[in-house]
Amino acid sequence: MAMKLSITEGGKNLLVAGKGRRVPRTKLRQVPILQVPVSPLLSNFEKWAGKKRKLYFENEEALLSSGIQNYHLDRNVFAQLLASPMRCDRITRLKLPKDMMMQLKLIKLEPSSNTTKYSIELVPQGSHLKSNRSSYVPNKKAFLQKNMEAAMKWIPLPALLSDMRHFSVADVKIDRVNFLSNYEQELRKILDSKMPRLHGNTPKLQNWDILVSCSNSSLNFELSQAKLETCNDSPLSIVKFNLSSVTDKSWTTNYLKKNQNHSLGIVLRFPRDKETIYALRSLICFHST
């Protein structure tokens, strides 16, 4: 028995001609599109990336407009001292910025002067050098004198532990009697060689300038305010280096007299006079308690 299929007119149109009920275009747009949720692994990838996080700014202008300012720390002596890389002090085993400590290096003795059994010598450096291996000890005269007996322990560890070591500890000479005086002499030599450059200048004071003087104050470093003669700007912050702790008073008086470049005393500026400032600071700290 043949079945007669009854197809409606609309259905027929849809099957044969594909002319179904057309949905207007405006309605088509309203049909919600099925959205696949983005995995949090992708949307918050920075959380899982395991990378060091930083705050991103496109350029310097964007940074300055957000309220961040340039402190000009390259002109600040204390900032530069505190920012120097940390090194382990060989006596206390504490870490301290290396520019605040005394640097020791192994120097080869010349064969002509090598009348004794020693081939190398451990010497303190007035100004820090990058070459060769070095060790560090606190820059305090009284403290080092107390520990001078154990000076053999100050030999740079990398030199001792190196596979290329060509010396034994017995080959290292340490002049315990003149060790500290040599260091002081070297600092003075740096100061005497660097200072004459300032002659002829009459520097106007700037913020964070360093004024070297010898006052009765017990403090080695002091901060004071100075008002400019010409403008009504905010007062300047001046760092005072006090040489009163240096025991050789005649050298101090002579040094201050010889190198005075301002009515207030010796004015130095960082980083222009970096080496002089570091040598002066080392000398002051060396003599202080």
């Binding site: 992708l42 949307s43 918050n44 990838f45 920075e46 990336a49 395991g50 990378k51 060091k52 996080r53 930083k54 705050l55 991103y56 700014f57 496109e58 350029n59 310097e60 940074l63 300055l64 957000s66 309220g67 961040i68 300012q69 340039n70 402190y71 000009h72 720390l73 390259d74 600040n76 204390f78 900032a79 530069q80 505190l82 920012a83 120097s84 890389p85 940390m86 002090d89 006596i91 206390t92 504490l94 870490k95 301290l96 910025p97 605040m100 606190p138 305090k140 009284a142 403290f143 964070w208 017990s218 403090l219 080695n220 470093f221 901060l223 004071s224 912050s237 760092v239 202080s288 308690t289």
Partner: protein, 202 residues
């Protein structure tokens, strides 16, 4: 091996860094700090919160992050900075605490900022930011050493704690029986001098 940069709504992830683009949670508007109608305690609270939000930026190592947290807690809750400062600087304090807090927050923020530089395009402020980062890193190392000295000493008395955290005698420029205190004291004296020059409270 070349790394591809992956960008999301909040960050750009490169081979080395996850660079966060949204900084609103870390910054504090200066106008708000200067507004006298806002209570000082509220300002302290707001800055403390922002300092803490910087925690994930300080380091990936938990030990460093914990040192940073302990440092902040001590600075905000326990430290008598006026007493510590008086050991080194004789002059009365000129800067208000609001300004000091804001400057300190900016100092810490500077240390976690990334500016894209190339061989031809260098920014002067980047060197400044690097110095801030190095100082912060050294300060945290010193804080860790202080904690080790206080809690790692075999002596069962709290003299070291009192000296390092409450009376601040170690900051004075004088002969110390403990050489460790002499070393730490010198470092902290310089930090105080830096605070005076930058009007911060590190």
């Amino acid at each position: 091996m070349s790394w591809q940069t992956i960008s999301t709504n909040n960050a750009v992830v490169t081979g080395t860094y996850a660079l966060i683009k949204r900084h609103s949670k870390v910054f504090l508007p200066q106008e708000l700090v200067d507004d006298v109608s806002v209570d000082e305690a509220k300002i302290v609270q707001m800055t403390y919160r922002r300092f803490m939000r910087l925690r994930p930026f300080i380091s990936r190592r938990k030990m460093v992050r914990d040192t940073y947290t302990a440092y902040l807690r001590y600075k905000f809750k326990k430290e008598n900075y006026a007493l510590k400062r008086s050991m080194v600087v004789m002059e009365p304090q000129r800067c208000c605490i609001r300004k000091e807090l804001w400057n300190s927050l900016m100092f810490f923020t500077k240390s976690v900022i990334y500016l894209p530089e190339s061989k031809t395009c260098k920014y002067e402020i980047s060197r400044d930011n690097t110095a801030c980062r190095q100082i912060l890193k050294n300060m945290l190392t010193m804080e860790f050493q202080k904690e080790s000295i206080i809690y790692g000493s075999r002596l069962r008395d709290n003299k070291l704690y009192l000296n390092l955290r409450e009376s601040f005698q170690y900051v004075k420029c004088e002969q110390h029986s403990n050489p460790n205190l002499m070393i730490i004291g010198e470092f902290d004296r310089y930090i105080i001098y830096l605070n005076e020059l930058l009007h911060t409270r590190l």
